[in-house]
Every structure is written in C-alpha cells, then in structure tokens.
C-alpha cells in the first residue's frame, strides 16, 4: 500500500526537485546571506563575514525601512485589496447583465492590460502619467493645468497603474465564480422581494466568498512582489516617496552593493507574504468547516 502511494507521488518528483533547486534554495541562500556582510565589491565580496543580526538591527533603527514597509502596506491595500478586487468584482457583476457585445468589448479592454508583459505595461503607465503624457494632454484639452503625477503624487500613480494592470485577474476569477451562482436562489430571493443590493450582499457575496478569499490571497502576494512597474515609473522616488520593500531591497543589494542588507529586507518581505498567505488559508479553511 505504502509502495503504491509513493509510486503515485513519482510524477510530481521532478516538479518538487525543480522547486527545491529554483525556489527553496535561493530563499535559503538569501536568508543565510542576510546574516552576513556579503557585498558586491570590497573585501566583503571575497570573504563575507557572519555578522549575526546586525542587518536586522540596522533595519529597524533605519528610517527608510519602516517608511518602505508602510508604503508597501498602503500600496497593497489600495491597489490590490481595494482597487483590483472591488473593481474586478464590479466589472464582473456589470458584465453578467450587460449586452454580449458590450461585455466582450469591456472584457477585451480590461484583459489587454493583463496580457502585456510587465515591462511594456510599466512603460505604458509611465507614458500615461508623465508630465507630457496622455493624462496631462487629455486634462490639458479640457483646460486643466498639467500636474506632474510621477513627481507630485507618485504613490497615487503607481496604485492606479497597478490597479489598471491587475484588475483583469480579479475580473476573470469573479466572472467564473458568478457563473456558478445558481439562478434559482437569486430568483427565489427576487420573488421574496429582495432588492438588487440585498441580493448582492445576502445571496451572491456569501456564495462566492471562497473565490473572494482565493482571489485576495493571490493578488496580495502578487502586489507585494511588484517591482518592475514601480522601478520604471518612479524608481522609488522622488526621495523614497514610492520606495516599497522590493524596491528598497533592490536598491540596497544592487545599487549600494550591500547584499547582506538587501537580502535581510527581502527576507522580511518573504515573511510578510507568508503571514498574509497564512491568514487567507486560515479564512478558506474556516469557510469550508
């Protein structure tokens, strides 16, 4: 019996091996490096020394780390949990009752942002929010004075850009979930005199809540890791006003060559992702139980 069971695991062995080599190993390496003074140049590049928790101590006494952590939370909550999630749900709901042609048109427009490679989407967003960009040209046409979005409101710009780019995913998840909501339940609620919003809050949302939890988990983890979009649009600036944890980790490790400190920031980011992941997994389990 046990032999049969282990034989059944055989097909997944290659993928487990690949995961070990390409995912677990770098994570462990990065965790190890965060306790050393490893760097890109200088003596520490040749012979990194064990420095214990120095990097972590420095992180919590440094002003830029708490600021970056706070910006990361703002960015994730505003662009993923609120932006992508709610906008995706609204679009999916509207699509269920709109005409076929309209829903196809909207669907294509939303998915287009998702299909673009991240670097292309980032350049598009940069061109849109730039001082001489599309947005200012449109508002200028209406007579409004130009605003330097990437400079004056960098966080708003990257939140909007990430919402634009990621909404398609939530929309697709919710469209699939809404298609599974049995019609007879909604119809009987309608017979009982439930209004539109009552049907949404008391019937539809409870029925798709496991999709909501799954969606939230996936987009939270994706948004935590967003780097290219921010790097291209603002490079974390001006003066760290849009430096989230991935940008901070990159700057420390590769711009300043302090790999030890950069990997320490990255390790905290991994822990943060694990905490979020654990919360959502817990939520999912409770619902099933």
């Amino acid at each position: 019996m046990t032999i049969r069971r282990s034989l059944r695991l055989l097909p997944v062995v290659p993928s487990i091996l690949l995961l070990l080599v390409f995912l677990v190993a770098p994570v462990l390496w990065s965790f190890h490096a965060s306790f050393t003074d490893a760097s890109l140049s200088g003596k520490a590049a040749k012979d990194p020394q064990w420095v214990g928790t120095d990097n972590y101590v420095r992180m919590f006494s440094d002003d830029s780390f708490p600021a970056a952590a706070w910006l990361t939370v703002l960015f994730v909550v505003a662009s993923a949990v609120l932006g992508q999630n709610i906008l995706g749900l609204v679009i999916a709901l509207l699509m269920t009752r709109s005409r076929r042609a309209v829903s196809q048109l909207v669907g294509t427009a939303v998915v287009a942002a998702w299909v673009l490679p991240e670097i292309v989407a980032a350049f598009a967003a940069y061109a849109y929010f730039n001082r001489d960009g599309t947005l200012n040209q449109m508002t200028g046409f209406l007579g409004a004075p130009g605003v330097d979005w990437l400079y004056s409101f960098p966080l708003v710009a990257i939140i909007l850009a990430n919402t634009w780019r990621g909404t398609a995913f939530s929309m697709l998840v919710y469209r699939a979930a809404l298609a599974d909501v049995p019609r007879d339940i909604t119809e009987s609620a309608l017979m009982d005199g439930a209004r539109g919003w009552q049907r949404l809050v008391f019937i539809t949302l409870p029925l798709i809540r496991s999709s909501i939890a799954t969606n939230l988990m996936l987009i939270t983890l994706q948004t935590l890791a967003v780097f290219t979009l921010i790097w291209v649009m603002t490079a974390g600036g001006p003066a760290n006003a849009s430096t989230t944890l991935p940008v901070l980790a990159y700057q420390e490790a590769f711009k300043f060559g302090d790999i030890g400190y950069g990997t320490a920031v990255a390790s905290v980011l991994i822990l943060l992702g694990m905490v979020f992941g654990a919360i959502y997994v817990r939520l999912l389990r409770e619902q099933r139980g």
Partner: protein
C-alpha cells in the same frame, strides 16, 4: 579529426566505404559537439575564447567601435583565439552592478573589462582584478602613459591593476547666443558663485522661458549629481569631502551647508530646471539633445566629453555647437586660490582575476589601448588623452575647439576618494541635494542628516569634524 576527404578516383565500393566513414564522422562530430557545448571550458589551443565586457548605450558607442577594431586586429594576429564581445546596454550604475555580478563566478567573469577608475580599489579588495605589474614591465607602450594618469589603476598595495583609457574634467558649458541676448559680455568667466547668480538672473530677466544655469541634483542623475554639480561647489569652498591624509570623511563643515544653500538658491529662484525635471534620470539627454541646441538653456556644468554628443556621429549631432558653445572654468566660492575647480574621473580597462588566459587577455588589453585605438577613442569620445603620444597628435588637438580649454583644467582638478564606502557616501550627498531642491529640508537640516548618515556608514573613528 577533420581529415581531408579525397573524392578523386572513387569506385562504387569506395562510395560505400566513404558513406560509412561519413556516417561515423558525423556521429562522432555530433557527440563531440554535444560534449563541448556542455563544458564551458573548451580545451586545446584551437578553441580559446576571450570574453570582453564593456558598456554601450545609444549615446555611447565610441568604445564599441574601438572594441570591434581591436577584435579584428587581435584575431588577425592570433588566429587561434576567438574574441567574444559582450557589450552591456546600461547606464553607469547598472553597468557596474551587472559587471560585479558577473565577476562573482568564474563561469561568467570576463577576461577583459571596462572599469570605472573610482571602483578599482574596492574591486581589487573583492579580488576581481588581476595585478598587471609583471605584464606592464614588458609592455613598451606603458612608458608613454602620463604619470599622473597611471595612478588611476593603482590599488592600496601599490600595484597597478588597470590601465586608463582616458580621463576627463568638468567645466561650465554655456550657450553664447543666450548670454549675448541677456547682454552679458563674452567671453564669460565667473570669478565667484555670486557672478554665476548675477549672470543667471540677467538671463532669467531677459527671457523667462530659458533655463539660465542648470546644475544636476538629486538621486535621479546619480553620480552626475555629484561629479557635475555638488563637488564643483564643495571643493571650491575651503572644505572637502574626504581628508586624504587622515583617511577620514569630513562632517559638519560650513562648506557643505553653503554648497547646498547655493543649489537651493538656484532651484528656488527657478534659475535651474524644475525639481521634477531634475529628478528624472534622463534629464541630461534633454540638456544635450534639446535645450542647448534649441537655445533653451544658458549654461550647465558638464564633462569634457560634452562635444562627443554633438560632433558628427554623436548621439545628438549639432553642427552649430562649435560656434554657439563656450567653456568657462567653474569658480571657487569667493574667487580664492586656485580660482577654479574641476573634477576628474575616467575609465580603465582591466583583466579579470579569474581569467583562464591572463596572458592573452593582457595582449588584448594592449591591442585595445594601442596608439591607433586610443587616438580614435579619445577623438570620438572627446576624452582627455592619457598617452603622451596621442596628446601631441594633430588630429587629437583639432578634434574639437575645446580640447585645450578642458585639458588645462587638469591643473585645478580633484579626484573622488576611491574607497570602498564611497558609493554610499555619494548617495548620501545626492539625497541631501534632493531634499534641498525639493524643499523637503533646509540646507542646515540636510547637512545634519548627511553627517548622521556618514557617521552611521563609516563609524565614529572614520569621521573628522571640520
């Protein structure tokens, strides 16, 4: 293995054996090809490869041209060696990062590479660079290199690890037409910071759409912020960034605060670009590509390599630059001795410590830096020659009208402290300038924060209160 196949006088039986032999040959070849593609170290004298890593951008192709020539020259002289050119398309900062990452493993480490002189010492500490003393002794050309320039490749142990390609200085580049329109008498040579402000205000008053006097600031322009901006100010006060004798970083100096205050005046009075434009990493492209040629910019502090952008074949060809532009020395604060300030850097070629063919690698380096290649590089990239035989060439002296002006600045030039912690200190300076021009901090607060950052970075025992 490549036996000559005789085709003459074949019989039908001969054809069969030939076919069999060919099949065998092909299968052997396949196996060999497969085996050699797995191993990254091809063996035997026939298959030596040299990997050359350098920077190439849309605005910087002069080195690529030299490398292409050197490859042809070298391969013609050494038929058994393949030179593999691996240009990296990136700005200076990212190039440095990519190079350092490649050097961490012997598999990816280049044999010969383009190295910024201020990184030589820390990269020697990291064990990336090969000591060249033994090779240089036997290289005749080494004696024609300018003595001062040789120091660019010297490490703390006194050995030479890199050979300079050229050097540069920094000066004020100004548009004569803009100055003339503002009623400023030409040639213009400010004697103090105040003279700069006076001229800039006059330009502003004559035409508010023109940017009178730009100086880079903020993290966006990176090393450009300090090399073409802040250091010209700081080294013209009685202060300095680093005390070379004591080997300590200077903190708490009035000169630092005053330099920040000067930037604040420039940006607050809108004599420079807007802070938003200053923080754009690509602002320099507008300086060279749009504002100067269109007469929208009065002056800026830039490097001696400036003509390389405008001359024929440059990234922003502008035939009028020889007539319209002029060079002035950046003044000291109140005109105190020596009257002017300049900053110098420069790039070198070095041999990787992990190179499997160091002898060939040095030979390639020597080819790339021979008189012919050095001359074409210095002319195309508007570099100040470090080979004395190139410096006296008529072609070099006539490359552009400013060669003499910028070469003379060597007399008042300064070099960055080439220590391993320098890149972080430089960033701290950039952060201070950014905080001041965006109005986030006063010059005093920004200077105090810089001092605190430096103390944290290098430790109490490596700072000097001045």
């Amino acid at each position: 293995m490549r036996r000559p196949v005789k085709l003459a006088g074949l019989t039908s039986a001969g054809v069969k054996t030939l076919a069999r032999k060919l099949t065998a040959l092909v299968s052997v070849a396949v196996v060999v090809a497969a085996a050699s593609s797995c191993s990254s170290t091809p063996e035997g004298a026939e298959s030596k490869t040299l990997k050359i890593v350098y920077q190439k951008t849309d605005a910087f192709t002069a080195l690529d041209a030299v490398m292409q020539d050197a490859k042809k020259e070298f391969e013609a002289a050494n038929s058994a060696v393949t030179v593999e050119l691996q240009p990296i398309q990136a700005n200076d900062d990212d190039y440095g990062t990519k190079l350092a990452l490649a050097q961490r493993s012997a598999e990816t480490a280049p044999d010969v590479f383009y190295e910024d002189s201020f990184k030589v010492r820390s990269d020697v500490d990291a064990g990336y660079l090969l000591k060249l003393d033994g090779y240089l002794e036997k290289w005749d050309d080494w004696s024609v290199f300018n003595e001062a320039a040789k120091a660019a490749g010297r490490a703390d142990d006194g050995g030479i690890y890199a050979v300079p390609l050229g050097t540069d200085t920094r000066a004020i580049w100004y548009n004569k037409a803009v100055f003339r329109n503002a009623g400023i008498s030409l040639p213009w040579q400010p004697k103090s910071w105040e003279d700069i402000l006076t001229a800039a205000r006059a330009i502003k008053a004559s035409d508010p759409t023109v940017i009178p006097f730009n100086m880079y600031a903020g993290k966006g322009t990176g090393e450009g912020t300090v090399m073409q901006g802040f250091y010209e100010l700081l080294y013209g006060t009685d202060s300095t960034l680093y005390d070379e004798d004591e080997k300590k970083w200077v903190v708490g100096s009035q000169g630092f605060t005053d330099s920040l205050a000067f930037l604040k005046t420039l940006y607050d009075e809108k004599l420079a670009v807007s802070p938003a434009e200053a923080l754009d990493p690509n602002v320099w492209k507008k300086v060279f590509g749009e504002w100067f040629p269109q007469g929208k910019l009065g002056a800026t502090v830039e490097g001696s390599y400036t003509p390389s952008f405008w001359q024929k074949g440059g990234a922003y060809e502008w035939s009028g630059y020889e007539q319209d532009m002029a060079v002035a020395t950046f003044p000291t604060r109140n005109g105190q001795d020596p009257g002017g300030v300049s900053m110098s850097g420069g790039w070198t070629l070095a041999v990787g410590a992990k190179s499997k063919n160091p002898d060939l690698a040095f030979k390639f380096l020597a080819t790339a830096l021979n008189k012919k290649n050095a001359l074409s590089y210095d002319i195309n990239n508007s570099q100040i020659a470090v080979r004395t035989d190139v410096a006296s060439e008529a072609d070099y002296l006539a490359a552009n009208p400013f060669v003499k002006d910028v070469s003379d600045l060597v007399a008042v030039t300064h070099y960055r402290p080439a220590t391993a912690d320098y890149p972080r200190i430089s960033t701290a300076v950039q952060v201070a300038t950014e905080a001041v021009i965006t109005g986030k901090q006063s010059p005093e607060d920004a200077a105090a924060e810089y001092d605190a950052t430096v103390r944290k970075l290098v430790g109490e025992d490596k700072v000097l209160e001045k």
